[in-house]
């Protein structure tokens, strides 16, 4: 008569295996997009999972294409390179300012100051 099956536990772990990112946070981010009004719950699941796959995809691709491969490292430049070179990741170039060496920056600053001084 008694149901000894740990229903709750197996369901929770099934759901855990399926999606690891916080769905509520994804929803908040989606809603902060301009013009987005309402999102169906299933559409939310899909987007969350897609974001997970994206992270894995980005990390793997960057690692494989990057210069850190021999040293078994992944750094900023690997990611920036992948965004530049891979079509699907090209949308990331907006948020990936190319890092320049400090001395180059200082040099360009000096140049700007010189130009101002010409007045």
């Amino acid at each position: 008569m008694s149901q000894a099956k740990p229903d709750k536990d197996s369901q929770a772990s099934e759901a855990k295996k399926a999606i690891s990112l916080p769905i509520s946070r994804v929803k908040l981010i989606m809603k902060s997009s301009p013009d987005v009004s309402s999102i169906n719950q299933d559409a939310l699941f899909l987007t969350t999972k897609a974001t997970e796959l994206f992270v894995q995809h980005l990390a793997l691709t960057s690692f494989n294409n990057g210069s850190g491969r021999e040293a078994n490292t992944l750094d900023y430049s690997d990611l920036a390179k992948t965004a530049e070179e891979t079509d699907t990741f090209h949308f990331l170039t907006d948020i990936l300012p190319k890092k320049i060496l400090a001395r180059e920056y200082l040099k360009s600053l000096e140049q700007m100051e010189d130009e101002d001084a010409d007045f």
Partner: protein, 159 residues
Amino acid sequence: MASSSGNDDDLTIPRAAINKMIKETLPNVRVANDARELVVNCCTEFIHLISSEANEICNKSDKKTISPEHVINALESLGFASYITEVKDVLQECKSVALKRRKASSRLENLGIPEEELLRQQQELFAKVGFPEGQRCMTGCGGSEYTMADGDEESSIYV
């Protein structure tokens, strides 16, 4: 950590979740801190990208709510078609989990006797054995134990 201005643009996926995923995808790889930070921001960017595209598709279809179909079409048109199969599978799994949960809870309700019924049965029994109505004692485990002194015998009734 969180800015007090409450700016929408500061919303990101928690760093810990991203770190965990990176670790699972690239075990034993040393990942620079600024690279991790970047991945966090890329996530937000990706979500905006998908949302905007899905939203556009949704608007064109004269529907008000973004549906799974819209998201799938967005993935396709943005070059992420390779995600579609796995994403669909997960949706199926989430749905079946939710369905099982609903079935399980309705099953329990039918098997267990609701409390009002239990109380009613209790009253009936009291009436039969001559307890004054309104007197009852319930033990903590949900059952009730009554002892009746009836001449020589002591009998217990469990309800």
